[in-house]
Symmetry: C2
Subunit: 482 residues, 2 copies
């Protein structure tokens, strides 16, 4: 009897889905890491440097103390009244834990919550959004999720009926979007960001691609925008955001705003503005625009990827659609409570006068200032490489340099049957232990080649990253220069 499950008999959408951030190059890196462990000295480097993924704490970033204190106390509330706890934990963490527990029915952090998340925590998050934007936010619009990814899947599942439904995505894009659209059987409708203008978004490009999609019989349902950009690191200008809002309103598109890097802005001339703030400041309300904003505890200065906390703020949908979104959330019961609590903490951190305020600010500013320095140092170093140009990392956690590969390298990649940028990245890994992701995993203008490199190695490692990368690149060019 034939095995019941083969590649020919599984869901072809699963086969089609790709996720480069944890793709082939990472599998290779894990193998090398095992070789280094079992046989030190087997490679010309002694550790793998994972610059493939926005996972700050895996590279040594420390968690924010206040957040972890509150989480620990909520996990084990039995110690709240013990005198030792006063010595071990900051007073405002104890107080915050009590407040949070009071918001949870029965103080039961081990119970399923409301499917959208604990109401009191949603109140806190809504207040945080309101403080950020200067416009009201409604706790009933908040859906707490296990990180931003499940929220994105939920919206794709809601909107996509068949491959005739299209979702606008930037190129390059974070591959969660291409993967999720593939899994749900829709069509990714690309719009290209303009590398020449620092990954700018041109409305003319959107219009052109919308027409092209229509002519193929594809109904575009939504527009994904990632701000600050991933993998591109740009921060959108306010005026550009207004144009995008206007375009979505005019064309009847749902605006899916990936705003998980809202705290990660490194240049004084740029500021993050949420799309909700922009649309409300244009006078647009619930009736004018379907807008979903995604936020996560994995990014920002907190970088709590392992906690899987996040939310989406859902505005502009009719009540009957909201009910369907609620139903989808309820099938999975609720997101994890620690993640819910953490999402409320990042949207409502210690304030002036709180016992932890000073140490909290020092931790936060230390991390953000260091990220800015690392971004700058890597950007400069990469721009010093022959045949490489790199836009500024204004925000997010990535650089996305363009490599002008020599024809001989492209030919060698073709002979090896892989994309030229994957060829470069594999060589880099084998020579230096540095893991970056080929641009082809994110999408790029045909004939251009890039890679994505995080700015996350700790500062004491940055010189080594730069010198290893520089040496490798020089050797690579020497080998393949036309």
């Amino acid at each position: 009897m034939a095995p019941p499950v083969t590649l020919d008999t599984i869901n072809p959408k699963v086969l089609k889905c790709e996720y480069a951030v944890r793709g082939e190059i990472v599998t290779l890196a894990q193998r090398i890491q095992q070789e280094l462990q079992s046989n030190p000295g087997s490679h010309s480097f002694d550790e793998i440097l994972y610059c493939n993924i926005g996972n700050p704490q895996s590279l040594g970033q420390q968690p924010i103390t206040f957040f972890r204190e509150v989480l620990a106390l909520c996990d084990h509330p039995a110690i709240l009244d013990r005198s030792e706890t006063q010595d071990l934990f900051s007073a405002d963490a104890v107080e915050r834990a009590r407040q949070i527990l009071d918001q949870i029915p029965g103080r039961a952090t081990g119970a399923y919550s409301h499917s959208q998340g604990i109401k009191g925590l949603r109140d806190t998050i809504a207040a945080g959004i309101q403080a950020r934007d200067g416009f009201p936010a409604d706790p009933n619009d908040i859906f707490l999720t296990d990180g931003a990814s499940p929220a994105v899947h939920m919206m794709m599942q809601l909107l996509i009926r068949s491959e005739e439904d299209g979702i606008f995505c930037p190129i390059p894009q974070y591959p969660l979007y291409s993967a999720s659209i593939a899994l749900h059987g829709g069509t990714l409708v690309p719009y290209c960001l303009d590398e020449e203008t620092g990954w700018g978004l041109e409305i003319s490009e959107l219009k052109k691609q919308l027409e092209a999609a229509k002519s193929k019989g594809i109904a575009v349902r939504a527009l994904v925008i990632i701000n600050p950009g991933n993998p591109t690191g740009q921060v959108l200008a306010e005026e550009n955001q207004r144009d995008i809002v206007e375009f979505c309103k005019t064309e009847g598109l749902v605006l899916l705003a990936d705003e998980v890097y809202q705290e990660n802005v490194y240049v004084p001339e740029k500021t993050f503005h949420s799309f909700k703030k922009i649309s409300r400041s244009m006078g647009y309300g619930e009736e004018d625009l379907c807008l979903v904003s995604f936020q996560s505890v994995s990014k920002g200065y907190y970088g709590e990827c392992g906690k899987r906390g996040g939310y989406m703020e859902v505005t502009g949908f009719n009540a009957d659609i909201r009910e369907q979104i609620y139903k989808m959330a309820s099938v999975n019961l609720c997101s994890n409570i620690s993640g819910q609590i953490l999402a409320s903490l990042v949207m409502s951190p210690p304030k002036v006068g709180d016992k932890s305020y000073k140490s909290y600010c020092a931790e936060k500013e230390g991390i953000l200032a260091s990220l800015a320095r690392r971004a700058k140092a890597l950007e400069n170093a990469i721009n010093n490489l022959e045949g490489v140009s790199c836009n500024k990392a204004e925000g997010a956690m990535y650089l996305f340099p363009r490599i002008y590969l020599p024809q001989k390298a492209i030919q060698a990649a073709e002979d090896a049957n892989i994309a030229p940028d994957a060829f470069y990245c594999r060589r880099l890994l084998n020579a230096t232990g540095i893991v970056v992701v080929p641009g082809s995993g994110f999408g790029q203008v045909t004939g251009t080649w890039h890679f994505r490199c995080t700015i996350l190695p700790q500062e004491d490692k940055i010189p080594a990253v730069i010198s290893r990368l520089t040496d490798f690149h020089k050797g690579f060019m020497d080998e393949f220069r036309d």
Copy 2:
């Protein structure tokens, strides 16, 4: 301009999906609860008793101390070396937290892990499975997930290509399965459990339904079995399990074994056996059967629903299919680390000689013994109701009594345009504040009516539940008796 998203333009699979456990009756209960808060005395009862969902801690069950100690310490490892910690936490919890942190690369509980979960925790879980079954388990077969639900979705997404792919589900079934099959566009192929024989599973029924499905052009891909049963509470006999394994092997079906209630067995004459143990003891190995076992931290004596921890053990699939499952897991990066840690703890609790062993056993046995008493008390009371019969809750957390509704009640329900069991449950809620789920949400033999009631109210509440239910039922029968 028409709103961009309407019920006519969303994914019809979302529309089709139903999830009774958090359906209409729960929405009504939440409304009444708000009324009770804002206007005490507005109803003839003073609180809502949620017997609709297996959510033990929401009804006052206390978490297992050792588990919470370890979670708190892993959340805030900075206190591990403080002297106060020795006074606040048990010594073996401190030791376990250290062990776990040592298993996490960089001790970073705030980092994304391997997409299948932290390797050291999977080692612990595999060892726990091996100790339970007496057969080897491989950590590479374990996929840690945010509760069992995402794991079930993942398998449905893998197996279902179109509505011509069928998934065998018991009737009655836990509505996660019907919801997930609907969302992924497959066909639920029902097999009826036999209420007369205590919700027994007859192979003849499986054969009959398999033929019926084939004649409709449906290829059945997998068989879902829930043991101990939800909503039915039965524990399968070993011989019955062997027949099921044989059937799946012969017919080339993937066996999806929902074993989340493996610790919830209340009668001395029954024992839980995993399907993996059964199939291995029959001499069947990897080549013979595709078998997925689902486990969750939400059930058992621990009942940690809010932590969203769980795993699936995936055996019998080819390497190329395993790669596809890994890819699906990697798109969502990883499950939450606290849930991962807790999954390792429930599969490896304190052992003889450990400092916490005695108190752990007392907590565990206290909860399980109380659940057994509550199950028995409710079962007896329900069987004393006129026109109601109820099988034993041998396991799980539910009773699923059959109500022989008078014709007049059925007529009244028809007039109100709802299912007769939903009519009964709504009346029950309005009269008593007790929330149960109509049998129609789980599926039942046509013309029979049931409801699902958890055994989870705390013991001091059970007499009130019984007397309120008894009084209501008497009044209901008096009103509608033919």
